[in-house]
């Protein structure tokens, strides 16, 4: 009787685990495909633009807020610009900001975490207090003020500041500045445990320099959790970028980003609601895909972990 109950429960348990893994991986695989398609589509945005024989910078006052048509598959925006091509260009921005800022954050975080974990002592407590401090800050209001800073007052050339690309660099810089804390904590933990392992102690005993131990023995062995955390952070960064651009402080028009396209769409809510649907949907799908991908990677890179 008891045995049968146990067997039944564990079979049910196994079935659930399998379903769980299968779902996860299928979602992760689907996400990878969707993200791949997004990459390709936005990379080929200029080509699509050329093939369709349009220029997204062209304001067409005779074709404001048109519905879908042969010439404009998704219609046009409040200035008569093609929505589809603008969405693809917006994808370039979001993916670029998300990936580059996530990688920057991971590099900064790994560096701080490995130093803190390896050297310990005062350096460790100093770096970890700074990390705690940054984690405790209200990020969005601070991102807003950083985005509003006048770069000419920092000694940048006015001509350089007026360049459209500067809003891109700025947003990557400020999101990375607040985004490194998670990876720093992960890396510190990993370093602390790796430091006690035989192969690391052997390397130290054989006279390897701290720099070499960190680079050759610790970093490569701590890289999988960092990859997972970095993938999971891309979505959050894309959301922050879209919020700032939506508020008018991120990517500056006429460069299209999904966030600033929504800013334009808000004013047209009553007469052209479709303008609002597409950019938001793109952000949603992209962020969701990065989250699924990160989940899947977590399972794939650490088969021992039984995730809840």
């Amino acid at each position: 009787m008891t045995d049968r109950v146990v067997a039944w429960a564990s079979r049910r348990e196994i079935r659930r685990r399998r379903l769980h893994r299968f779902m996860r991986h299928r979602l992760a695989a689907a996400s990878a495909i969707i993200l791949g398609m997004l990459f390709l589509a936005s990379a080929f945005a200029p080509l699509v633009e050329r093939l369709m024989g349009i220029d997204i910078r062209d304001v067409d006052l005779h074709a404001l807020q048109q519905g879908p048509s042969a010439a404009h598959p998704l219609g046009t925006d409040e200035l008569g610009r093609d929505l589809l091509v603008r969405l693809l260009y917006g994808g370039q921005i979001s993916l670029l900001v998300g990936l580059v800022a996530a990688i920057f954050s991971a590099v900064i975080g790994s560096f701080i975490g490995i130093l803190a974990g390896y050297f310990g002592g005062r350096l460790d407590s100093l770096l970890m207090r700074v990390t705690d401090g940054v984690i405790a800050l209200p990020i969005l209001p601070l991102l807003i003020i950083f985005a509003a800073v006048d770069l000419t007052k920092l000694g940048f050339q006015a001509s350089g500041v007026d360049d459209g690309d500067i809003s891109l660099y700025r947003i990557i810089f400020i999101t990375a500045m607040f985004g490194w804390t998670g990876v720093a904590r992960l890396m510190r933990g990993a370093t602390l445990s790796l430091k006690e392992r035989e192969f690391v102690r052997a390397a130290i005993a054989m006279g390897a320099s701290p720099w070499r131990v960190m680079r050759v023995h610790i970093l490569p062995n701590a890289v999988s959790p960092v990859i997972v955390a970095t993938t999971l952070s891309v979505g959050g960064i894309i959301l922050f970028e879209s919020i700032l651009s939506f508020l008018g402080l991120g990517i500056q028009p006429p460069i299209p980003s999904w966030g600033n396209m929504l800013n334009g769409a808000q004013e047209q809510l009553s007469n052209a609601p479709l303008l609002m649907i597409w950019p938001g949907l793109m952000i949603f799908i992209t962020v969701l895909a990065f989250n699924f991908l990160g989940d899947g990677l977590q399972d794939a890179l650490d088969p021992r972990a039984l995730n809840d």
């Binding site: 769980h20 401090g133 800050l137 209200p138 800073v149 919020i243 939506f246 949603f284 969701l288």
Partner: protein, 317 residues
Amino acid sequence: MSGFLIQRLSQSAIVIVIMSFVIYTLIGLMPGDPIDIMIASDPKLTPEDAARLKALYGLNLPIVERYWNWLSAALDGDLGFSRTHNEPVLTVMGPHLARTLLLMGLSFVLSVLIAIPLGVWAAARPYSFRDYAVNLLSLAGRSAPSFWLALILIFVFSVWLGWLPAGGLETIGKGGFWDRLQYLILPVLSLTLLNVAGFTRFVRAETMFVLRQDFIRTARAKGLSERSVMMGHALRNAMIPVVTIIALDFGTLFSGALITETVFAYPGMGKMIFDSILTNDYNLALVGLLFATFITLVANVGADITYAVLDPRISLS
């Protein structure tokens, strides 16, 4: 305990002092300065006049000295004057703060009331269909841009159905409780959707953790019904930490409120800070940001302490 408390409080005090300097510096780096704005509205002022005014108000001093002057005045209770509201900063901030607390409080209570049953319901049958459904919805909610959800709500309920106002605080010249309530519904709903998505994950994880504990096995072994195990034992032990931690994650809650207030033109703290930055209202931006930072840090310390007190396994030393 007291050692932990002192350490944590002194850390936060240091962060506050550093942040007040950082924010002061950042405000100084915003475009223009008060004298430039004065000149812009008075073409008769010459560059010499401007230079004299800047010297008079100490704007040509080094940043550290200016910060010191501001700090001494602030500690004397003089936080300056809001340029756009023509009132002392604290007078402006009071009502904005009250409105934000109302918005955040209402949606917090609603979110907890929805997220707790949802999370417990999912955790009771881990990896079942309903667990997936709840997880998927929660992840979807966390992946959707909050301002987009707000725009969709505005479109559906005010543009399309025409049931509710699209934004603002009250109908001009009308006001009153019912009128204000109508304006509150959409912002509260929007913020609640956002919060529920985030909270449910905590509730589910914490409930699953509690369900693995020995006392739950004991309760089941004693023959208690599943319902009484979930309600009496699991729920109670899972909820205290969940609610405390969520309530004290003020930074996240406030960020959500800032976006919601901005989209719905609801005049709370978040919109006030945002507007003051856009309109170069230096004093208001400075005090607003500092206040938000201060509350967030205090809440953080509170969360650490409560968590430690609630969970005897966490050592306080």
